[in-house]
Amino acid sequence: MKKTMYEKIWDSHLVHEPENGTPILYIDRHLMHEVTSPQAFEGLKIQQRPVRNKHSILATMDHCVPTVDRHLPIKDPIAAKQIQTMADNCEEHDLLIYDMDNANNGVIHIVVPEHGFIHPGMTAVCGDSHTATHGAFGALAFGIGTSEVEHVMATQTLQQKKSKTMLVSVEGKLSQFSTAKDIALAVIGKIGTAGGTGHVIEFAGSAIRDLTMEGRMTLCNMAIEGGARAGLIAPDQTTFDYIEGKEFAPKGDHWAAALAYWKSLPTDDGAKFDTIVELVAEDIAPQVTWGTSPEQVSPVTANVPSPTDFDDVIKSSACKGALSYMGITAGAPITDIKIDLVFVGSCTNGRIEDFRAIAEMTKGKKVSAAVQAIAVPGSYLVKEQAEKEGLDKILMDAGWEWREPGCSMCLAMNGDQLKEGQRSASTSNRNFEGRQGKGGRTHLVSPAMAAAAAIEGHFVDIRNWA
């Protein structure tokens, strides 16, 4: 039988399929951060259950960590306790953790690939919806709740139902100003935030194969915003080159064996998907979200839509609510929207090439006096690399703030946040009401689009911008 990559990974991890019950799926890698794990450790303790395979776990601290004055104690006592609890739990169970002071610290979905901890064909979970990121390696990676975090620690498995499969094919060549972020937003604009519900998406086509690993991670990261549990991209030479030599990569004879296995993973020709969506890369312009859901997105050349543009009653009323919350007017050009703050970072766009992109856009220019521009590297390794390339200097000379790594303003748990009514151009993944601070207004864009907005003080079509 012809199989999709998802079906191959599923079959190779199926522990047991009981007649009366849910299939039990084996989990190879378990990623952790401070927010969604403490109650799981508490559950283990109450039941006196051990961690089944401590080597499957890699933990970090990212959501609550400050991006300034890192040497000082965390001011918020509840956040400080959560950070301490993570450290204590990892110590008690002898788990690998890149804590706040560790040179490898950073956002979980940035850090994990940096060390080669995820390989093609694996199953990986984390109490975090953006675990979908690791599908970029051809691994089945998805977010779980805290009860499931406990379940995986205790059993190294999950009770899982098999998902449906969706093929998102993007053929052609992206313009030099469009990125993986724009593909992600264009796909979500097309299928909607519930379009992928119940599905695992496989991204394929020449535009996907042309993406770097960083770009593939950005794209798979946002599969969850299209409602899909996971995104997948077939592993190829780009993938193998990225993993080879990293700390947790297979070595010596194991490398050859692993490579042979990984090459068997891509979807068989003729395998069937439940749903197929097709996009043409050349049609994907730089995207900007105008509303409070990632599906409320338009090309930068568009005008803000009107509720009357939508035939669907629910979409129309959602548009009306979003325009009111966002404080923008139907029919106004998106390029007229003025920005107060720019945030570049997060597990979506906090990798080295994202900072190269904003440095490239910024070089020789200044951040608008009306804008606060914040660059938050996804990890200390990203920060170090960027500094080695002099990107920090270019950015700071132009007026950017160059911060310590963390999730920061993507979800504003650590104190970095928008004030009521402030408007951001953000490279993160969610433009939900209040996501970046109560009353804050978020427009999701690519790093290059964010940088241009920082300089001009409003959105610009970077394809005609000098």
Binding site: R49, G227, L411
Partner: protein, 206 residues
């Protein structure tokens, strides 16, 4: 986990689509290390005014909806973050049933781990249920999980589609981990085979 019992309760109406987990429980309340006490923060940014008083405009603050156990909401409920704090807050507030046309996958699965029954209905069924609440705020619906029905005084009868295993777990208030560990032999067997086939997964970093 608390066992799910049949009940007849007030159904509160929240006629909004794409209600995300950031709204259900805003991030400033995710810093606690406990599993309890999230109900007071449910829908915080919508529910309370800046001075901390209840926002009279917010639907769940209507007196008719006080004590509701059933939450009827628009499409794609619970999208966004995987935070289990969302169902913890919903359950702690007093709801044990949500009715919508669709749910985000992670939220849907999280509900069953916390004694909450998420019911999927068709667009037409949802519209009918919403209309009945709008016409008679404070109306009580009856949920019978073993029989898999929701019935209303207006005569609506909805058949609940639910996975038989999840249904049984809810009714028994069963612990998932105990169930899986009954199959521990299979897990050990799987691991032994896996070590032979993929030895590189089992070596520590060098």
């Amino acid at each position: 986990m608390k066992a799910y019992k049949n009940h007849t309760s007030v159904a509160a109406l929240m006629n909004r689509s794409n209600v995300d987990t950031d709204q259900i429980i805003p991030k400033q309340f995710l810093k606690k290390v406990e599993r309890t006490g999230f109900g007071i923060h449910l829908f915080h940014d919508w529910r309370f005014l800046d001075d901390g008083s209840e926002n009279p405009e917010f639907e769940l603050n209507k007196p008719a909806f006080k004590g509701a156990k059933i939450l009827v909401a628009g499409d794609n409920f619970g999208c966004g973050s995987s935070r289990e704090h969302a169902p913890w807050a919903i359950e702690d507030f007093g709801f044990n049933t949500v009715i919508s046309t669709s749910y985000a996958d992670i939220f849907y699965s999280n509900c069953f781990k916390n004694g909450i029954l998420p019911i999927r209905v068709s667009k037409d069924e949802l519209a009918a249920l919403m209309a009945e609440i709008e016409a008679n705020e404070g109306v009580e619906f009856t949920v019978d999980l073993p029989a898999q029905t929701v019935t209303t005084p207006g005569g609506i009868v909805i058949n609940i589609e639910v996975d038989p295993f999840r249904k049984q777990s809810l009714i028994e208030g069963a612990d998932d981990i105990s169930w899986t560990l009954k199959h521990e032999g299979k897990i050990t067997e799987f691991e032994a085979k896996n070590k032979q086939q993929f030895p590189w997964l089992w070596t520590e970093a060098n």
